[in-house]
Amino acid sequence: MRIGVFVCSCGTNIAGTVDTKRVASEALSFADVVYATNYMYTCSEPGQQEIQKAITEHGLQGVVVAACSPRMHEPTFRRAVEKAGLNRYMFEMANIREHVSWIGTDKEANTRKALDLVRMAVAKLRFNAPLFSSKAPVNKRLLVIGGGVAGIQAALDCAEGGMDVVMVERKQYIGGKMAKLDKTFPTIDCSSCILGPKMVDVSQNEKITLYAASQIESINGYIGNFTVDIRKKATYVNWDACTGCGACVEKCPSKKAEDYFNEGLGQARAINIPFPQAIPKKAAIDAQFCRQLNGKKCGVCAKICPVKAIDFEMKDTIVTEKVGAIIVATGYDLFDYSVYGEYGGGRYPDVISGIQYERILSASGPFGGHIRRPSDGREPKDIVFISCVGSRDASVGRPYCSGICCMYIAKQAILTKDHMPESNSYVFYMDIRSPGKNYDEFVRRAQEEYGVQYIRGRVGKIYQRGDRMVVQGADTLLGVQVEVEADLVVLATGVESSSGAGELAEKLRISYDQYGFYMESHPKLRPVETNTAGVYLAGACQGPKDIPSSVAQGSAAASKVQSLFAHDTIETNPQVALVNERNCIACGKCIQVCPFGAIQWKELRGGIKKAEVLQTVCQGCGVCNATCPPKAIQLQHATDNQILAEVNELCA
């Protein structure tokens, strides 16, 4: 190989403490080095031209620049050598500025060190090979998993940008938790007024295909080319026919079905449309409660349906969709408050959760928007809110703050006062966490204008006395025990990861933390990407989040997808692992360790198995390389030979 070495002086930055001339002249004696020179500012235009000129004049096949950190100018010089016709990977840099001239003043020692570094770079370069990125086509369709507000935002943004979107929602309706909320902090605007139009957009946008009551069965492929199997669950109603007229619901004699939408506060029919604004507005039968499906005689709905949509024989079906990117927006679930025996949740009907209270406050809720107690339907007068139920509590395995509950308690206390000016609200809290725009002002308003009594302390016990409850707590600011008699107790149950989050993560090959929230690529700088290329996160599936942040993340994820889809093909980074099939013993160790699931089995003729790296998925970490027993898998541009060549230069 014919190698040229260019030693940079960087003005006096390097030349001040390194004898750059000597480095250049001695470099000439290194194996394969046919040209070496010293230049004042190598990265400048003329500096780069100097390199290009030398490449042509001396027929160089590889170039070493001894200068600043490669983290600074490697891309610059790679482009420069490429322009002169070399492959950009036939270039190496020796860092003689940050690692040499700037950290020591002994010119002799520095010069020797610089020489070592140049020698190492030359040695490595002798093992370099041209690398070429390949191109893979991008299927410009997006899959959104989860139809909460975050997923909806992402889907609409992408559809707006002209992309085809497939949305999969496991419930019968989209909207997620927000669909159940009454009004939203910190502006107290009506949740369905702001979410409803977006839901309608989803159903009407021709670019969006919605699969409600559906689940992800399996996912295969990689960025740009995923194949997804979707299980459409049997709803026993042919949705193509159903007009959502509701006639069946009205006549269904099975009236004691679980009312999931109202969080168990009311009762639903076996055939149901969860709420008037539901999207899709279609009926579905809850098989658990339907008489017909449980071997009894009924079929009333089938008789009544004007379009003959009822189909008791319906089975789950699988549909396959091909997409190029995936946004996961599966949201969250809420902590089961019955874990706290001392609060009596689950035993006392008037101890309820925050989300149940949202349903009570909601005009479409079980009491038509009048605040009533579940036990006897009486209007409560004294209402106690308890914060951090199932949050910030190591004893129940939830040491984190749920972030939204301080705010929704304040909101609910304000709404309570609006509904019932004579009522009194009390909030037991440990800290108030309200770090958003206009958030703390909102909490202050609850205290200053709405007279909500905030008591700093936790509650030890709640018990029934007569038809009221006694909430026994502490006021730690005063250092006394306190008791509040209450008609209704609202527990601010904390956020936990969505049920089944782990299984879905495994299908997607993304990682999740110990609580089941999905891990972003970098907590600060890559907040919506995952470590699996082409899979993005939005909303509370990544961690507790309020609506503004969920929507922001939905849009952020959408913009990531749009920048991916702006290209017809994706250019792969060629610095990836490569399997030498002759040496691979098919032990599978690399497949196990790869953090990105980039390695799969490949079957050769005769049924022989070999590992194969998916070039588009591999991120180039090299974990597989260090793991492979026969060293069959090698990370390009950092192969064992290349690294050992550098090491070898230091060996005597």
Partner: protein, 298 residues
């Protein structure tokens, strides 16, 4: 026949003899052989804890060791205070940093021993179903308040029995006798047991609260499984009345006495006459009344 070492503890020898008697009778009725620990000694109770954990563990541990020597691997005690000490002894023996000191003092390890309360024995080994079947004199029509006291089920990781906040074993046992057991909110609230002698006013306040809630719920009696609770609520009920300016008159029988009654064992044998507040109200046969009412209605 199930063989269980029986650690009765000092209270059951003195102020709670009726608990001892009724415990033996009920266990006999269900075929449980109680093997009294030979030459047992006091577990040291709270005073030993507050002096030195090792003293407490060694005093209690000696009893476990003897039980082990007698060939038992389950030790039952009706007293939750003793149970706490026995469990403490076992923890000490299992703690590598204390094991040697314990074994040196006590003479052997007590590995693999299981320590349980009478309540746990009745609930898990006998069970409400078996009791229901054996009832000869149902207590239907009676409203009995289940009171567990603070120590029986707490803390959860040590007690390893029932729920620390809302235990239900005593409720189920009471219901097995035919009686009604209302949801009692003060099931596990402390009655002031340790302060019977030294801080009488604490008992007045804390036990007074328990008596008050029990009578608000229409309870005719408070059923207990702890000799210290019993002494506070029963023996000191007059003192409490004086302190709280109330006039409670609630008998406080042990669960073993209540089950014994329902099995048809004579009140005298069960030591019901030893209770300070007369338990006569329990002897009223309302099962017949109820039947008649039902017949008339039907």
């Amino acid at each position: 026949m199930k063989r269980v070492a029986y650690y009765k503890g000092c209270s059951l020898e003195g102020l709670a003899t009726e608990y001892d008697r009724s415990t033996r009778l009920v266990c006999e009725a269900f075929g449980i052989e109680l093997v009294e620990i030979h030459d047992w000694n006091c577990c040291g109770s709270s005073p030993a804890h507050s002096y030195d954990p090792l003293l407490s563990s060694a005093l209690a541990g000696r009893n476990l060791a003897i039980a082990a020597d007698q060939g038992c691997d389950v030790v039952m005690t009706p007293c939750p205070g003793c149970l706490k000490s026995l469990k403490g002894a076992q923890e000490t023996c299992e703690d590598p940093s204390k094991r040697k000191a314990f074994v040196d003092l006590v003479g052997r390890d007590v590995d693999g021993m299981k320590t349980i309360s009478l309540l746990q024995l009745l609930y898990e080994e006998v069970g409400p179903e078996a009791i229901k079947k054996a009832v000869k004199r149902p207590l239907s029509g009676h409203v009995l308040i289940p009171y567990y006291g603070c120590l029986l089920t707490r803390p959860a990781d040590r007690a390893k029995f029932d729920d620390p906040e809302n235990p239900i074993s005593l409720d189920r046992l009471i219901e097995a006798t035919g009686a009604t057991a209302p949801d009692f909110p003060f099931k596990t609230e402390c009655c002031g047991a340790t302060y019977g002698v030294t801080r009488n006013e604490f008992v007045g306040r804390l036990s007074g609260r328990i008596l008050d809630m029990a009578s608000q719920l229409g309870g005719e009696a408070i059923v207990v499984a702890c000799p210290l609770c019993q002494q506070n609520l029963d023996m000191r009920q007059d003192q409490i009345n004086k302190f709280a300016k109330r006039d409670f008159h609630l008998p406080v029988p042990y669960i073993s006495q209540v089950i014994g009654l329902s099995l048809g064992i004579s009140p005298k044998k069960l030591g019901l006459d030893k209770l300070c507040v007369s338990p006569d109200v329990l002897l009223e046969d309302r099962a017949g009344d109820e039947k008649r009412v039902q017949e008339q209605a039907g």
